[in-house]
Amino acid sequence: MAISARPRQALAIAGAIGLALSATACGTGSSSNSGNNNADSAECAPYEKYQGHDGKTVTIYSSIRDLEADRLAESWKQFEDCTGITINHEGSGEFEAQLPVRVDGGNAPDLAFIPQPGLLARFAERDQLKPASADTKAMAEENYPADWLKYSTVNGTFYGAPLGSNVKSFVWYSPKMFQEKGWTVPTTWDEMIKLSDTIADSGTKPWCAGIESGEATGWPATDWIEDVMLRTQTPEVYDQWTTHQIPFNDPRVAEALDRAGTILKNDKYVNGGFGGVRSIATTAFQEAGVPITQGKCALHRQASFYANQWPENTKVAEDGDVFAFYFPAIDPAKGKPVLGGGEFVTAFNDRPEVQAVQTYLASGEHANSRAKIGDWVSANNKVDLANVANPIDKLSVEILQDDSSVFRFDGSDLMPAAVGAGTFWKGMVEWINGRDTATVLQGIESSWK
């Protein structure tokens, strides 16, 4: 009673073919072509100092992906053509978690765009990062304000220049709505509160907010607190707070929280289009400002990158459907505090072509090349405003290049990840959900070891 062996044989053959196929696939490596090198043409003149690395490849790892990654690749296309260096950029949403694994596993990228100075410092302290070359350093010092460069300097060693930036001190509003109702853009904190009262009296809840963002829920509220902190205190106190020289539950931090609470935890003011105060915790940050386009809310504090979140066909301009104004200072005489973020170009490798790319990315050529493609803000002072088409980007660049601006980096990115991307976020959710300021701050403080 032998059973037919044929199906089994077929299975075995299929298996064997599979193995053979995979073995051949194993052997086919991608052969790299060095590309057409037209280094001598006129348009390549600015890249002369980066010459001499024809055929080399530089890998970059970052959290920039999708459309923005395409634009980035476009921005260094000419550099690649002229120098013969191939830049392989890889963006991942898992960047922050993956980079340490890759570095520890000996598979570090040549360059990484690190958006958290805290993470940068972690690599620097373990000697995993390569210090920036003298060329890169000179280029960075020429093009970027010192306020920025200190965030990529660890124990006196400079590790890399910033690339893109975003300005977080913005309040989004509808110019149309403001014009119809006869409201004007406030330039001081008091004017802003007065305006909020006027709007509330007219029957519309003035503010809308949302801090839901998947596993990062809470971060928009941390931005709020940091922005207010920069306004109620001096930048020096802000620095002490982000470096834990003053405790997290310091009365000055509590004061900032309470002042933010006069808006965020005020049922009269929030949450336009969504419900009461608690709805802030459950509203996705991507959707939080949308009620402005429906006339259900008038003000929404969010970073410049929120420009991409508006529904299709929303015109973002000073005379359009939505625009943003600078989140006003309490005492404008003390200068213009600006909260922002950005990524730093750091190197895990010191091969000459890697350093050439690192230097190029700090240059005005790259900043302008990227700015021309659109949707881009950089603190690079070589950026020509004429190259920045988008009105909100233009406003951001103006603020960043303004001499009276006092720039400070997003505090939660400076703190250790367990706090800045952990208990601070969670604490803010609890705070919105009704827990009192003292308990929340005490909880965050006790988590900061």
Binding site: M1, A2, I3, A5, R8, L11, A12, G15, G18, L19, L21, S22, A25, C26, T28, G29, S30, S63, I64, R65, D66, L67, E68, A69, D70, N88, E90, G91, S92, G93, E94, Q98, V101, R102, D104, G105, G106, N107, S213, G214, Q286, F305, N308, Q309, P311, E312
Partner: protein, 321 residues
């Protein structure tokens, strides 16, 4: 020779004594109420997937503003999402078609390698007498408790730095590039699958009747011959069961692929691309529904076409034939 089916068939015919526990359970499970409950559970289970499917056919604006159930009140139908995620040319819009192929290239060898190795190992551990056999088996069995996450960094270091002990290089770095990275992923998946595969198949192989092996040995069959002509055909259901497990696991895997395949479009599988489909700040999340459907098509086909092996394989390991 015998196949595995007759004993099972005999079992179903064995309804002469309705008082046995198994048959009582069987009667209860096939009653009308039980069927109704099963249908309700099936419907409730399917609703989210169904909603996802309906959602994937709606235009972006609708997805972003209303729930999928409003589709029935106000049906607006489009295939734009699928067009975007499958064939969009900019990396901004999907290109899932490319990554689909990568997923297949990763998955097939990652299923076949552990199957092949584990079947041979299971046979050796069950039917070849050698010293320390039980120790080896217990060692492999115990490896199941090592969490995959713990092995990621050492394994990555093994690929990129090689192995050296006290300055002596035991194994050089692999120095893989581009499409060669597939080898890393296969290696990783095979490593992580082997302990469970060996355990599962060993249980199965060791239950084969001893008479069979002895008869074959008397007839002059060698171990390779016995393995090929007797064991392999008999354990086909178990192979299929494990194959499905492993296929679904590898196909749906994100972690291993992220670390060993990287995110370049040459090697990254569907899951890696899906995770990035929504854009840097999540503003294109309407694509996720269509993307999800593209990615579950293959597992669905595999599962539906092989599910009878799946159930048989699971049962066959436990019931003595």
């Amino acid at each position: 020779m015998t196949t595995t089916t007759p004993p099972v068939a005999a079992g179903t015919q064995d309804t002469g004594s309705p008082t046995t526990r198994a048959s009582r359970v069987r009667t209860r499970l096939s009653s009308r109420t039980a069927t109704l409950v099963a249908i309700v559970i099936a419907v409730v289970w399917t609703i989210p997937t169904f909603g996802l499917f309906v959602s994937s056919l709606r235009p972006e604006n609708q997805i972003k503003t209303t729930g999928w159930w409003t589709f029935f009140r106000d049906p607006e139908f489009t295939l734009q999402n699928y067009q975007d995620v499958l064939f969009g040319q900019a990396s901004g819009s999907g290109q899932l078609a490319n990554y689909f192929v990568n997923s297949l290239v990763i998955t097939l060898p990652s299923v076949l390698f552990p199957l092949a190795f584990a079947a041979m190992a299971a046979y050796a551990l069950a039917w070849i007498n050698f010293r320390g056999r039980d120790l080896v088996y217990i060692g492999i069995f115990a490896l199941q408790i090592v969490p995959l996450q713990m092995a990621l960094v050492p394994l990555l270091s093994f690929f990129s730095r090689g192995v050296s002990l006290g300055g002596v290089t035991l194994m050089p770095a692999w120095n893989l590039d581009g499409a060669q990275n597939f080898a890393q992923v296969w290696f990783a998946h095979t490593c992580f699958a082997l302990p469970f595969a060996v355990y599962l198949l060993h249980n199965f192989v060791s239950q084969l009747p001893r008479d069979l092996m002895e008869a074959a040995r008397v007839d002059g069959a060698t171990h390779p011959k016995i393995f090929r002509t007797i064991v392999l055909p008999l354990i086909a259901p178990a192979l299929a069961a494990f194959g499905i497990f492993q296929f679904l696991w590898v196909w749906n895997d994100l972690l291993v692929a992220l670390i060993f395949a990287g995110g370049s479009d040459v090697t990254a599988p569907l899951t890696v691309r899906l995770a990035e489909l929504a854009g840097t700040r999540g503003n294109e999340w309407q694509r996720l529904t269509a993307g999800a459907f593209v990615s579950i098509v293959v597992p669905l086909i595999v599962f539906l076409s092989l599910q009878r092996f799946f159930v048989r394989g699971l049962l066959a390991g436990s019931v003595k034939g």
